[in-house]
């Protein structure tokens, strides 16, 4: 047996909040070496916002609300002024076990880009992503804010920040505009004022809210979005303060149910009130609830619809047939039972309707290998899910935008 001395050996350090994204994800980069001829779009990723939240606060139009936010930011330790941070938010990193969820505190020295841009770029390079849609994490529960005007003010400021500061820096980063859904007029202002901005490929409603999507007050908004031709995404989240969830004593329990809970409610309202018939050209994307819930609601609604058609008289087809025409993002992909997963892919026509999402840097992120290693997918289906479906939906040019994986591996700080 060949023996080597210790001088040939490099010692690797524990991964912490200060580890460079490219080192954390170096194994994903090794996986990406086999995807060099793939085109990849990541529809849902997030970035740490603590280092730039003051920039968003400064863009709030209303003088009084802006001053409120700025005053809050002056308090040492405050990173998300005006936001309604929820119980459980800080539980997500499993109490230090998953450092990248806690914060990406790595150095970005030498980069001329905004920290947000640089971190997004590093994650794209490391995972082999060509385009990525990014979204700030705590705004996912902004729909539960007791003050509608705060949601509207932050939502508009965030969109301005994204359009003015981030999107011009890197054409690989794309934006889905935040719609302050609790204020329909403000949401329409967003569509009208920013819908055509460079790099904006669609619109987002965060699901964590108690607003029925079928209410008449939203019909003008949907018509406006349909007119743009850009998709509307419903991005789910959790909310431990919801009365039903107050019975759940562990974060895992609440988190497992909460995302799906809100998606189930909004999708059910959307279908049963026949919004697909009213807005036949409006393309919907359901983000971050995994996939296992979809076959359930398809079967359940079909079953009950046949007995209670008088309650959904404008449906011309089975509920599941409308759902099959919607788009879904893949993360967090439930993979503990391949037979169930394969049946799910079949039920939702994943080959044309499923869009890869990483959710990086959240604790339950999925790298692209979550799709490429599925044994029941054809090569074309993998390519569709990883990028071609999204390119078609969001009208993005199929064009390689990322560096080669081997170059990313060679240049990462842990090696260089």
């Amino acid at each position: 047996m060949q023996q080597r001395t210790v001088k040939d050996v490099r010692e690797l350090q524990e991964i912490t909040i200060k580890t460079d994204t490219r080192d954390i994800l170096s194994h994903a980069t090794i996986q990406a070496e086999g995807l060099e001829d793939y085109f990849l779009i990541d529809i849902d990723a997030h970035v740490t916002e603590s280092s730039f939240w003051n920039e968003i606060i400064d863009l709030i139009d209303n003088d009084v609300i802006r001053q409120m936010g700025q005053a809050m930011m002056m308090r040492p330790g405050t990173t998300t002024a005006l936001l309604n941070t929820q119980p459980g938010t800080l539980y997500q990193h499993v109490f230090g076990r998953i450092p990248h969820q806690a914060v990406l505190a790595e150095a970005v020295d030498g980069s001329e880009s905004h920290r947000f841009t640089e971190l997004a770029r590093r994650s794209m390079d490391a995972m082999g992503i060509d385009y990525q849609v990014v979204f700030p994490t705590p705004m996912l529960v902004l729909g539960m804010h007791p003050q509608e005007e705060i949601e509207a003010a932050i939502g508009r400021a965030y969109n301005r920040w994204l359009i003015e500061r981030i999107l011009p820096e890197d054409e690989r980063i794309k934006g889905l505009l935040y719609l302050p859904f609790n204020s329909p007029e403000a949401a329409m202002d967003i569509v009208r004022d920013f819908g055509n901005a460079k790099g904006v490929i669609g619109f987002t409603v965060t699901c964590t809210r108690n607003r029925p999507v079928h209410h008449n007050q939203y019909m003008k908004l949907y018509a406006m979005i349909e007119e743009t031709g850009k998709p509307l995404a419903f991005h789910s989240g959790f909310h431990w303060g919801d009365p039903s969830f107050l019975q759940l004593n562990r974060f895992i329990s609440m988190h497992a149910i909460s995302f799906v809970h809100y998606s189930l409610i909004h999708l059910t309202n959307w279908v049963i009130n026949a919004l697909p018939e009213r807005f036949p050209k409006l393309k919907l994307v359901w983000v971050e609830s995994g996939l296992a819930w979809i076959p359930f609601i398809m079967q359940r609604l079909d079953h009950e619809f046949m007995m209670r058609v008088c309650e959904a008289p404008n449906l011309k087809r089975l509920p599941s047939e409308y759902i099959r025409e919607m788009y879904f993002t893949s993360q967090p992909l439930e993979r503990s039972n391949m037979k169930l997963l394969e049946a799910t892919f079949d039920a939702i026509k994943a080959g044309t309707q499923l869009l890869f999402a990483s959710d990086w840097p959240h604790w339950d992120f999925d790298p692209p290998s979550s799709i490429t290693t599925l044994p029941f997918l054809s090569e074309q289906e993998k390519r569709n899910i990883l990028g071609l479906n999204a390119a078609r939906l969001f009208n993005l040019e199929v064009k390689r935008m990322r560096p080669r994986a081997k170059d990313v591996l060679a240049a990462r700080p842990g090696v260089a």
């Binding site: 010692e11 350090q13 991964i15 090794i30 996986q31 230090g96 076990r97 992120f365 599925l374 044994p375």
Partner: protein
């Protein structure tokens, strides 16, 4: 197969951990109560760098004789390493996942020869990273 010198066994921290890389292949060496174990630095979940994760005592829930919960407590007998990608926790003494023992880290041969701590570098590690899939929640191949 290559044998890699880690250092003097007596100088290894106890408890402690060292992750070494040779030509892109990395191995985690762990020591607890003077006993050494070593595993490939590839999580059987999705291929993450598991051996570079947080080392932390196993969390247990204490149940009284009347079946009531006495709350959570750190184990005095078991220490886990948590994969930094997704938090999968493996006992550093056995390499087995705490909640699903069928899932385990791939062991690496480790021996003490004349006071020197040596590990045998596994082959095929990069291939295992590249093709790692999450699906089978069973024992690693």
């Amino acid at each position: 197969m290559q044998s890699i010198l880690i250092g003097k066994a007596a100088a290894f921290p106890n408890p402690g951990r060292k992750v070494v890389e040779v030509e892109g292949v990395s191995v985690g060496v762990f020591c607890r109560d003077g006993k050494f174990t070593a595993f490939e630095n590839v999580c059987p979940h999705m291929g993450g760098p598991v051996c570079q994760g947080k080392i932390i005592a196993r969390v247990e829930e204490l149940i009284a004789e009347d079946k009531t919960s006495l709350g959570l407590a750190f184990s005095k007998d078991h220490t886990n390493v948590a994969c930094p990608w997704h938090g999968y926790e493996f006992d550093i003494a056995t390499g087995r996942h705490q909640g699903n023992p069928r899932l385990r880290l791939r062991p690496v041969t480790i021996e003490v020869v004349d006071g020197d701590l040596r590990v045998t570098l596994p082959e095929g590690t990069r291939e295992r990273i590249a093709r790692r899939r999450q699906a089978p929640l069973r024992e690693v191949d």
